[in-house]
């Protein structure tokens, strides 16, 4: 089988040949497109390390067949910063010690970006924790992650206000 799909990856339109329908979005990113920032943890949708944005929504890239995604927009951890300027979520994870070993961090950060866009948490730490529950951190940096998401959410809202003005 050979199939060609068009993807906008971090804002860049690319045509990608899929030579095997078994390729997941995660493996496509890591093994074929040299975007290794997205991590493979469990590869079964249980840990969240592979979280990316698909058409603006956070999903597990390990449980998504690449062949199914013609025309989609994908945002990975590599697509968040603007040059040397970190995305507010990235900056907040550093400021609040939202990680230790760092392996789950790209997934945590992409999940947080998705959570903020969904707009369901408000400023309630309990809601942040519940809505970050799809991302497991074996180092146990959850306290810092919750604080980082709360602060980043304020920063993103502030940036939106500035942009609108």
């Amino acid at each position: 089988m050979s199939l060609s799909i068009s993807l906008a990856i971090n804002g860049q339109r690319r045509t990608v040949a899929i030579d095997d329908p078994r390729v997941t979005l995660l493996d496509l990113l890591r093994e074929r497109l040299d975007l290794a920032g997205t991590k493979k943890g469990c590869d079964r949708g249980q840990c969240g390390a592979c979280t990316v944005l698909l058409d603006g929504r956070r999903i597990n890239s390990c449980l998504t067949l690449a062949a199914s995604l013609d025309g989609a927009e994908v945002t990975t951890i590599e697509g968040l910063a603007e040059g040397e300027t970190l995305h507010p979520v990235q900056a907040a994870f550093i400021a609040h010690d939202g990680f230790q070993c760092g392996y789950c961090t790209p997934g945590q950060i992409m999940s947080a970006v998705g959570l903020i866009a969904e707009g369901q948490a408000g400023e309630d730490p309990a809601r942040i924790r519940e809505l970050m529950s799809g991302n497991i951190c074996r180092c146990g940096a959850y306290q810092g992650i919750t604080e980082a998401v709360l602060e980043a959410q304020k920063a993103v809202a502030e940036r939106k206000r500035r942009d609108a003005a």
Partner: protein
């Protein structure tokens, strides 16, 4: 994962034609199917990708007040759909208590109905499993079975159905619309999943090639909106399958229960609807004694299938609590932890919070 032919049909009729070949499966988001394929539990020859089929991703309100949910509507979109969540709050609460935000963003309504059991022996190819490989036996019977079925199980299979969403669907008489090689038909969600009997491999009432195109919840279910809850006990606070779950819904008039709806999750190979328990509440005043009696009736036929006798008492208590919370009223705002067994209502006798500081 085995090799397979990948087909992306452009219409429902093309999809049905493609999937009528033996060894075919439908692929929607793949959140369950790809997991099964990676483990070798599912080994399809042909994968029919239905994600591009037009018109299956809509939520429509019909003239008679019922709602028709397209099979490709994402779980998160349905749970956060404002009119849907206020009309069927227990269904929204069940959806939000399931899986993780990432999975809910992807997983579809049709796929949720068709998800397979999470029994570890079903997933472990080295284990005997009548559901996966008919006639091989059931290693769960003498294995780690504290989370297995306490109702409707047989010597051939003691697996449970993992869905949260399906539990209120059964309580509210939802039906699925199916299209297939022999045309269109409707199936009650209650009749979709089968008890194992002596053929646990026949998990669903669907025929080869049949495709779920929509789920309908009847207008009558909206009458329960002010007093409807879904509660779920898990082994960790969030992102876990139910040990036991329960939906309870009351239609109240002048202090009397006009009718009650109850269904249990995590206890059987299908969502379990104890109609005798429901009937015992109709026409009665809501009382603690009445709720306890209904819970006793709901679990009257239960028996342990292994080290899981505790689930029977747990389920009994959860039914009482779900009825108690339903009586307190549907919360105005979805709780921070949907389906938590602790009440968020001011003045409730049962309070509590996440056990995370």
């Amino acid at each position: 994962m085995n090799r397979f032919d990948y087909i992306q049909p452009a219409s429902v009729s093309e999809a049905i034609a493609a999937a009528s070949a033996p060894g075919s499966v439908y692929l929607a988001a793949g959140t369950n199917l790809l997991d099964l394929m990676k483990g070798g539990v599912a080994r399809p020859d042909r994968v029919v990708d239905i994600t591009r089929l037009p018109g299956l991703d809509r939520v429509d309100w019909l003239a008679n007040g019922s709602v028709r949910i397209g099979a490709l509507v994402r779980n998160a979109d349905l749970a956060y759909h404002q009119r849907f969540a206020s009309t069927f709050p227990a269904v929204a609460e069940a959806l939000l208590s399931g899986a993780s935000p990432q999975l809910r963003n992807a997983a579809t309504v049709g796929g949720n109905l068709l998800q397979r059991t999470r029994c570890a022996y079903f997933h472990d190819l080295a284990s005997a499993c009548n559901r996966r490989m008919p006639g091989t036996g059931c290693d769960a019977r003498d294995g780690e079975n504290r989370l297995h079925a306490v109702l409707g199980w047989s010597d051939h299979c003691i697996a449970t159905h993992p869905s949260d969403f399906c539990v209120p669907l059964v309580a509210f008489d939802a039906v699925i619309e199916v299209e297939g090689p022999q045309g269109a038909r409707e199936i009650a969600v209650d009749a979709l999943h089968r008890l194992p009997g002596n053929a646990p491999e026949r998990e669903m009432a669907l025929l080869p090639g049949e495709l779920i195109v929509a789920v309908r919840i009847p207008a009558e279910a909206a009458a329960f909106a002010p007093n409807a809850r879904y509660l779920k006990l898990r082994e960790r606070t969030s992102y876990a399958f139910a040990v036991v779950s329960a939906v309870a819904a009351l239609e109240l008039a002048d202090g009397i229960i006009r009718q009650a709806r109850i269904a249990l999750g995590g206890v059987a190979a299908k969502p379990w609807r104890p109609t005798e328990a429901e009937a015992s509440l109709a026409g009665m005043r809501p009382t603690a004694a009445g709720f306890a009696k209904a819970a006793d009736l709901a679990l009257a036929a239960a028996k342990p299938s292994g080290d899981n006798a505790f689930k029977i008492e747990l389920a009994r208590r959860l039914v009482v609590r779900a009825l108690t919370f339903a009586l307190e009223g549907t919360p105005a705002v979805m709780p921070a932890l949907p389906a938590s067994p602790f009440s968020t209502m001011p003045g409730s006798a049962i309070t509590g919070a996440d056990h995370v500081a």
